[in-house]
Symmetry: C2
Subunit: 202 residues, 2 copies
C-alpha cells in the first residue's frame, strides 16, 4: 500500500506540472523511486493510475463535525479545500475529471462530488436553515466548480483561504439569519499543526 501511495503521489505531481498527456510512466517511476514493474503490478497502465486518482476518497476518512447541517456543509467545504492544498492526489483530481468524459473507461467523479456536498445542503433546507429562494443543488454545483477552479491555481496553500472567502461571501446570502448566527467559523487555520476540529473522525 505504501508503494501504491508513493506512485499515486508522484503521478499526481507530474500531472499537475505537465498535464496528463505530458506525464509518462517512466517519469512517474523515476519520481516515485520505484521499478516500472511496481507501477504495472499496481495499476497496469497510466490510465489505471488516472482511474485510481479519480476514484479516490477526497476526504480520506476524515469527516466534518456532526451538527447543524449547514455547519457540516461549511466544514466540508473548508476540509475539501485544505485537501487541495496538502495532497497532490486530490489536487490532480479536477484536472483528470475534466478529461474523464472523453476517455474510454474513465468514470467522471463530478456526480459523486456534487452529491457529497449536496447532501448536507439538502438537509439544511429540510431543517429550515436556508433562505427559501436557495436551490441546494445549484449551490452544491457552484461549490464544486469553485473548488475545482481552486486546484488550477499554481500558488500552493491558497485553496483553503479562498474557500473561507467563498463561505464568508456566500453564507449571508443562503443561510437564514438564525442559522447564520449559529454557525461557528470553519475550524483551524491551514498552517496549524495537527488535525483541526473538522478533521476529527465522526
Amino acid at each position: 500500500m505504501a508503494t501504491r501511495h508513493t506512485i499515486l503521489t508522484a503521478a499526481a505531481e507530474l500531472i499537475i506540472e505537465r498535464g496528463y498527456g505530458g506525464a509518462s510512466i517512466s517519469q512517474i517511476t523515476a519520481r516515485a523511486g520505484v521499478a516500472a514493474g511496481a507501477v504495472y503490478f499496481h495499476f497496469r497502465s497510466k490510465e489505471g493510475i488516472a482511474r485510481a486518482l479519480l476514484g479516490l476518497d477526497l476526504l480520506e476518512g476524515v469527516r466534518p463535525r456532526r451538527g447543524p447541517a449547514l455547519q457540516e456543509w461549511s466544514d466540508l467545504a473548508v476540509l475539501l479545500a485544505r485537501r487541495l492544498d496538502t495532497d497532490p492526489k486530490v489536487r490532480a483530481a479536477p484536472y483528470l475529471a475534466a478529461l474523464a468524459d472523453s476517455q474510454d473507461g474513465w468514470t467522471s467523479p463530478w456526480p459523486a462530488w456534487r452529491a457529497m456536498v449536496a447532501r448536507p445542503l439538502h438537509a439544511a433546507a429540510r431543517a429550515g436553515e436556508l433562505q427559501t429562494h436557495v436551490q441546494p443543488g445549484a449551490v452544491a454545483e457552484l461549490l464544486i466548480s469553485a473548488w475545482a477552479g481552486m486546484a488550477g491555481h499554481r500558488t500552493p496553500g491558497t485553496a483553503e483561504q479562498q474557500m473561507r472567502t467563498f463561505l464568508s461571501c456566500c453564507l449571508p446570502g443562503i443561510a437564514t439569519p438564525a442559522a447564520a448566527a449559529r454557525l461557528e467559523p470553519a475550524p483551524g487555520p491551514a498552517s496549524r499543526p495537527g488535525p483541526g476540529p473538522a478533521e476529527t473522525a465522526a
Copy 2:
C-alpha cells in the same frame, strides 16, 4: 483572420476533449479543414496555438455596462461565464492556464484575469458599495477560480447559470444594503438571441 479563428476554435475544441497533450497538429488541421501549412503559417507550432489561446481577450471587445462599480463587476462576471458557454476558445483557456507555469515561454494569464475582475471591485470599495470587511482582491481571486472551475464541467451552457447562482449567493455578503438595492439583475438569459445590455460596447 478567418483561418486563424477557425484553427484556434478547432484547437480549443480538441484541447477541451482530449487535453493539451492529447491534441495533435494533424487532428487540429483535420478539424479545422485547413492545410497543415496554414497552421504553421499562423502559429508555427502547437505551442504557438496555446500561447495565442492564453493571450485572447476573454471579452472580445464587448464590455459590461457603465454604472455603479458593483453593477459593472456583476455584469462582467455573467459575461465571462457566458463566454465559457458560447466560445470554445474561452473554455480552453483555463485548461491551458493550469499548465502555463510549467511550460517554457508560456505566460500565465491568471494575473491579468484577476486584475480584470479586481478593478471594478476596488472601485466599488472606494465608492462605499462594499461591506467594510470585504477584501476586493480575495473576492476577485475567488471569482476567477470559480469561473475557471466552471470551464471543467462537461455540460455546455451551465456556466452562466452557475455564475448567476454565485452572484445571488455572494452579493448579499459583500454589498452594502444600499448598493445591493441598486443592483439590477445580470442582463439577458444566455439563450436570448442577440446581445443583451451587458454586451453593448462601452
